[in-house]
Amino acid sequence: MSSISRTTTAKPPPRSGRISEAGRPGAPKRVRVAVVTTGLVVAVIGVVLLSTGLGQFATTPGQVIGTINRVVFQGADPLGNQVDAVLWNIRFPRIALGLLAGAALAVAGTVMQGVFANPLAEPSIIGVNAGASVGATLVLVLGVAVTSPWLLPAAAFLGAIVVTVVVWAFARTGGKAAVLTLVLTGIAINAIASAGTSFLIFLGDTTAREQVIFWQLGTLSNATWDAVGVTLIVFVAGFIGCMAIRRPLDVLALGDASAAASGVSVERLRLLAILLACLLTGVAVAFGGIIAFVGLIVPHTIRLMVGPSHRYLVPLSALGGAVLLAAADIATRNLIAFSDLPIGIFTAIVGGPLFLVLLRRTLRGQGGMR
């Protein structure tokens, strides 16, 4: 038991001097978290069910179940049956990649917002997207993407890491990398990387340029089980890492000085968080191209619903990101006959209005802007 004295407050807690706005009304936190979790889990299941059944290669739910039965439980070769081949080799890995990439992007966004103590932060600040762009564009312009399906993702991933490291290195002054310095350095390095990409685009031929454009709009059409495997490993590692730092990430909201005074190694935490965000975003971008918006919108939306504690924010953002991307991908591959639309369009169309609705509802519940 603590030995804090009990003799001081004899009078009841005084009312605050000004009329405070009504706090969040109604249900206590735990109930809200439970409701949101259930909702998201149901949404994930729903999206998966819908997604497996929808595609421009017409299938029935019976066929979907049949394929799973044959390939998973009977060890059959998917190529033995065309429906199996299409479902197992083309549709299922794409759905899986959508879920994992969406989760990875959302968790990366969550951690970035925590480490910058700012709800507007997202991984592109530290140069992940710009770096991946340079790597991918280089491979496309050199025309070597054909030589191996791993070359483009590897180049994109490497580019992401290199540029992030450069941003971090330049932002460090006297052993510390303050938030503002990181942001400004990120802006500068992003501009340089962007110029690099533009130059490479200029050097390329028309085919390369088209490919670069579509890569930058994002697509899950390159999904293979190999890609899913790599993404899964990186995601799980990243997710565990982010959960491990969930409490110190919360404390960063108090400001660097207070966080340090509370025993948090702010510099190390910041570096670790940025690294995790870079890895998670990097793997998603490597296989899916630049998919904007998920890292910004999903954590923000989840925070509006369950509050800022990373203990809930990280896993629920993962679920939210998975739902958003997998749902968006249903549209990209089914909306227009014989077309595979860029997914960046849909994450924005779905995510944007949803976020606006939630924001307005929250503001109304609080009687106006804080």
Binding site: S5, T8, T9, P13, A253, A261, S262, R370
Partner: protein
Amino acid sequence: MGGLSLQNIDVRVSHRKILDDVSVNFAAGRVTVVIGPNGAGKSTLLGVASGSIKPHAGVARLGGEDLRKLPTKQAARRRAVMPQDSHVAFPFTVREVVEMGRTPWSGSGPADHDIVEEALGLTGMTDMADREITTLSGGERQRTAFARVITQAAPVTGESVMLLDEPTSAMDIAHAETTLSLARTLADRGAAIGIVLHDINAAAAFADHMVLMQHGKVRVAGSVGEVCMAETLSAVYETPIDVFERQGRVHVIPQR
């Protein structure tokens, strides 16, 4: 041993000395209040004591140990800091913010919960514990911060150090009194309390030891009576100030 001592501290910002050969001792069981005009270096002093500012010369010791050699987490168990700015970036609840005080103590067991509840009670924040901190007034946020500091320092012993930078600046007179009384009580329990205050009267009422700073130097340090002298204060604040005693208490009033 406890306490936090600063010896011969120099802090420079591009050739200008913000702190010049400053020595202050925040002794255990004592409320030490630092006062001085704007720009005297009070917050910088507290910054050095809290570890966020590295001095260019001199040594800071926590419980006799050099701060530079003390790992962050260990230092945090003995020294809790309430900053001047109690802004919180995200809408954590009051309780969640106070719980952050337990960060340097690994694990969140039932003992933590009790400590948090007690701190909330002491600062009068129990009723507001589930409110989002971003909806609170400035004074309420400061009380929350103080609760967090208490939570971090618990169990309060002779080893504990609490540094408070203008902890009552947004509070009304009643809350300010309650808060400083609470600090006094904590000191009675053995903790070393260091407070930076603007309000000289409040300082005089609650301090065991006062430090008057001017232009980065310690001008006078000692008991309330020693520091609160009309000539000294008038000179340091560069405005005529009257000091008189009434019913055993020192009152400081600018001449009008």
